[in-house]
């Protein structure tokens, strides 16, 4: 999404610390995602009061409390809808939405699809651990077939959702995947996602060390391959991106799958916002306009 034009220097990671320390389990992948978001904001030098981080509910959704920006810890699955309203009320804000795979692809699946097709100008970081953590370990929409959890003790029989292909199909204009264990790479993707004008999905592998014993750091490390390492890869080619998104197994691509910059953002497409953010306007309808509304009814 578009970064606010106003930039301030002299920010350090310390300025980004929230009021309390994260209460995630030691070793949780979410620490890495939080750190990468903090680093990205330091490097982009956006005034922190112009940044709003929204989340749903779940372990990863506690993130807004652990970072020093405006924050909204909303309802399970609803953060994207809330973020859309917020962005339309004040499109000068830098809006980042964080959450987990259950929050975004399960209960929030409907809003996920529609927020993408609307090209709402925000960055959506999904901390994807392929499990429900805060409810103590149930199958999630990204859990692999065969994975055993408390809710599917004999193994998952439902195919997982593929967030990358889904996002490509739904019209997301920036689609990327990162890994909590690849800090620099993840930070770079977050920066690009913030600066992209439109909807950016960043599906970030964020291993759950407590409940997911299948998809661990050790499992991911040898498999993840950066798209950026292949100089022939063209992230403006949707078809190739879709093909790449289907790879899963010994090789799992991470990096920027796709970006297009020719689609107007939702706030950019609506002339009502041409005169600037709604929140800065006089709320009153001009009297002569009000009179014309009444005249229509006479």
């Amino acid at each position: 999404m578009e970064a606010s034009t106003q930039r301030v220097g002299r920010l350090t990671i310390h300025d980004l610390k929230g009021k309390v320390e994260p209460d995630w389990c030691p070793g949780c992948g979410d620490f890495g995602v939080l750190a990468a978001i903090q680093k990205a904001l330091v490097e982009l030098e956006i005034p922190l009061h112009n940044v709003v981080i929204l989340s749903g509910i779940g372990c990863s959704s506690n993130l807004p409390g652990f970072i020093n920006t405006y924050g909204m810890h909303t309802l399970h699955g609803r953060a994207l809808a809330v973020a859309t309203g917020l962005k339309l009320a004040n499109h000068e804000l830098t809006v980042i939405v964080t959450g987990g795979d259950g929050d975004g692809f399960g209960i929030g699946g409907n809003h996920f699809v529609h927020t993408m097709r609307r090209n709402v100008d925000l960055l959506y970081v999904v901390m994807d651990n392929q499990i429900y953590g805060l409810t103590t370990g149930q199958t999630s929409p990204t859990s692999r077939i065969g994975m055993k959890t408390k809710s599917m003790p004999f193994g998952n029989i439902e195919a997982p959702v593929n967030p990358i292909s889904l996002a490509l199909a739904a019209g997301a204009t920036f689609v990327a995947r990162g890994f909590s264990g690849e800090q620099k790479h993840l930070t770079e993707l977050i920066k690009q996602g913030i600066e992209h004008k439109g909807f950016s999905l960043l599906d970030a592998f964020s291993p759950c060390v407590t409940y997911n014993h299948d998809n661990t750091y050790q499992w991911f490390r040898p498999r993840v391959k950066k798209l950026e390492d292949d100089s022939a890869y063209d992230p403006t080619d949707w078809t190739t991106a879709m093909e790449k998104s289907l790879l899963w197994g010994d090789e799992i691509p991470i990096g920027k799958f796709f970006e297009r910059t020719d689609v107007p953002t939702l706030h950019g497409a609506e002339p009502v916002l041409n005169e600037g953010p709604l929140v800065h306007r006089d709320p009153r309808v001009p009297l002569e306009v009000g009179r014309s509304f009444i005249e229509e009814l006479m």
Binding site: K87, L88, L93, H111, V272, R281, M298
Partner: protein
């Protein structure tokens, strides 16, 4: 009794019932007459049966009334259903080529129009409608130029040939009536007054614009969709961002997001959509971000009867979202009030940072009424409450974990609200319970003392809301033989029932309830002290308001009049029920609706 004149026009959906309805309405209001229109229809786009009642008069007419003076059936079905409603002095204008009259009551004038002789029906498919309008207006004693003026406006875009064609057909009907039909004994009067004609949905949408709503979103649902249509059509002129959302869950959350961003945000739905919004209301209350949600009630439960009215959502409103939290619920009393209420409720919810619910219903939402344009005030008071929109130190000051406490414990329970983007006020709001600075006390820092303090802080706002909302008042004499208690849309019909009862020697007054939460129970008990016989009138099965009043005040009414057939009350329903109850025949009357749609 006030004199009025009512026209009933019926036909199949798609047959063009609406156009003659609109034309009659325009002509009446331009004569300076009041009118009330109610369309009884079905959930079908083509076919079925729809029946529009337009009632006009010199004085205010706030309901469909008891009597139809002129029936215009556009098909046989309408003739068969409704001719029996006509009494002596009434008339029925119909297409003699296609419709056979049934047997009418004595004194009913049957007015057959030889449509194919009067107009070229191969060219004009709705010739019968236009002929009937011309004939009807002649019989009401209205000069032809009134109709010509409206027809010219109506067909201007289609060119002079279409205008001439329609004016010619109307003229033929007018002249035929002059030659063959008996005019109504009292011609419709004319005054110098000018009124706007609007539906409750348009009134609420315009009220929102007047209140400074900058964000409106909705998912289409009858009978609330009219609010969306007006908002969408006028968004760019009024500077309002209007969005159609994927579902009502998205709607309420998007509205809360916009409100949190600092603008007034509103949405409307019906009972089913409101059910989906319930969790969102809890968020509005918990993070203390004010929004206004309109529920245009229709007959439930579930999909119910989408095109029929009911007052069946009160307890859904009272119980919406889990947990205790301050909320405001108001029911507009008439279509003009639909406009006035919106700025009022926004001021309350902005001051007290809580959700506000408007309990409208199909009768008001889709009904139409003449309103004095002076009542549609685009400069109502706007009170945004304790809102911080500008920060200290200017935009370049580094934001740090400052001293600002979003949920500061105060005596009033109101904590000054900073909006995102304001320097020096960075904070996180949360649907989890939180302490004054917004830090969660749901996980690591759970603390019964802090939880209690925060619950009490939020709930202290209830006392402030009570003081800010006006108390109800009796309409009519201080004491009476019978006091009729209603809420929301029944005000108009109860008013007329009271007048009829008084004329018949039974003195009657009304207690109309507009604010449901806060209810002002003590004040209600005080008002009802002098009542000799109390009856609660409401459009639902179980007496939802009666139960609510009893739960809040222990007050038990002497009797009840209820209706849950999907149609609104007519004055005689209430009058007859009151007489039965005063005679000791029953304590619960459920009037039968005579108009079958």
């Amino acid at each position: 009794m006030k004199r009025s004149f009512a026209i009933g026009i019926g036909g199949a959906a798609g047959q063009g019932v609406a156009t003659p309805g609109d034309i009659f309405a325009k002509i009446f209001s331009r004569r300076g007459l009041h009118l009330n229109a109610y369309n009884a229809y079905q959930s079908i786009i083509r076919g079925g049966h729809t029946f529009l009642t337009i009632r006009t008069g010199l004085q205010e007419v706030r309901n469909m009334g008891d009597r139809i003076d002129l029936l215009i059936p556009l098909n046989q079905d309408t003739m068969d259903r409704h001719l029996r409603l006509l009494g002596a002095g009434a008339a029925c204008i119909y297409n003699a080529d296609t419709i056979h009259p049934g047997s009418a009551a004595e004194g009913v004038q049957l007015c057959p129009l030889p449509v194919s002789k009067l107009a070229d029906i191969t060219r004009n498919k709705v010739a019968q409608n236009t002929l009937a309008m011309g004939a009807g207006l002649q019989m009401m004693g209205i000069g032809f130029e009134s109709l010509e003026e409206v027809l010219r406006e109506q067909f201007k875009k289609k060119g002079e040939a279409v205008v001439a064609e329609n004016v010619g057909v109307a003229r033929a009907g007018y002249d035929h009536a002059a030659a063959h039909f008996k005019a109504f004994p009292l011609p419709l009067p004319r005054t110098e007054n000018r009124y706007a004609i609007l539906s409750g949905n348009i009134a609420m949408a315009m009220g929102g614009a007047a209140a400074g709503v900058k964000f409106y979103c909705a998912y289409p649902m009858s009978p609330s969709t009219g609010v969306l249509h007006w908002m969408a059509a006028h968004a760019r002129k009024a500077g309002i961002m209007v969005r159609q959302v994927e579902d009502e869950i998205g709607v309420v959350n998007m509205a809360i997001g916009a409100a949190h961003g600092g603008v007034r945000a509103m949405c409307a739905t019906s009972g089913g959509g409101f059910a989906l919004m319930s969790e969102g209301l809890g968020m509005s209350a918990m993070i203390e971000t004010p929004i206004v949600v309109i529920d245009c009630q229709r007959a439930g439960p579930s999909t119910g009867v989408p095109t029929k009215t009911e007052q069946g959502d009160l307890w859904q409103m009272l119980g919406a979202a889990f947990g205790d939290y301050p909320r405001v619920i108001a029911a507009p009393l008439d279509i003009g009030d639909c406009f006035k209420l919106i700025p009022e409720i926004f001021n309350i919810v902005d001051r007290f940072q809580c959700p506000g619910l408007v309990l409208c219903d199909l009768l008001l939402s889709e009904g139409r009424l003449t309103v004095d344009p002076k009542e549609l005030d685009f400069r109502p008071p706007i009170d945004r409450g304790e809102l911080i929109t500008a920060g200290k130190g200017g935009p370049s000051a580094p934001a740090t974990n400052g001293a600002y406490k979003r949920y500061q414990i105060t005596e009033s329970g109101i904590s000054p609200r900073a909006i995102p983007g304001v320097p020096g006020h960075i904070h996180t709001v949360a649907t989890d319970e939180h302490q004054e600075d917004g830090v969660l006390i749901s996980d690591e820092f759970t603390n019964p003392i802090k939880r209690r303090a925060m619950m009490e802080k939020r709930m202290r706002k209830v006392a402030g809301i009570e003081a800010a909302v006006p108390q109800p008042a009796l309409v009519g004499p201080r004491t009476a033989d019978v006091t009729l208690i209603g809420w929301g849309s029944t005000k108009g019909v109860i008013e007329e029932a009271c007048e009829i009862l008084t004329e018949q020697g039974i003195s009657a007054n009304q207690l109309p309830i507009r604010w449901l939460v806060p209810l002002h129970g003590e004040a209600i008990l005080e008002l009802l002290k002098g009542s000799r016989h109390t009856i609660i009138v409401e459009n639902n099965y179980s007496g939802q308001f009666a139960r609510y009043l009893r739960s809040e005040t222990s007050f038990v009414a002497d009797g009840h009049i209820r209706k849950y057939d999907g149609e609104p009350f007519m004055p005689h329903h209430i009058v007859e029920a009151v007489k039965d109850q005063l005679a000791g025949k029953t304590k619960l009357s459920v009037p039968m609706h005579e108009i079958m749609v």
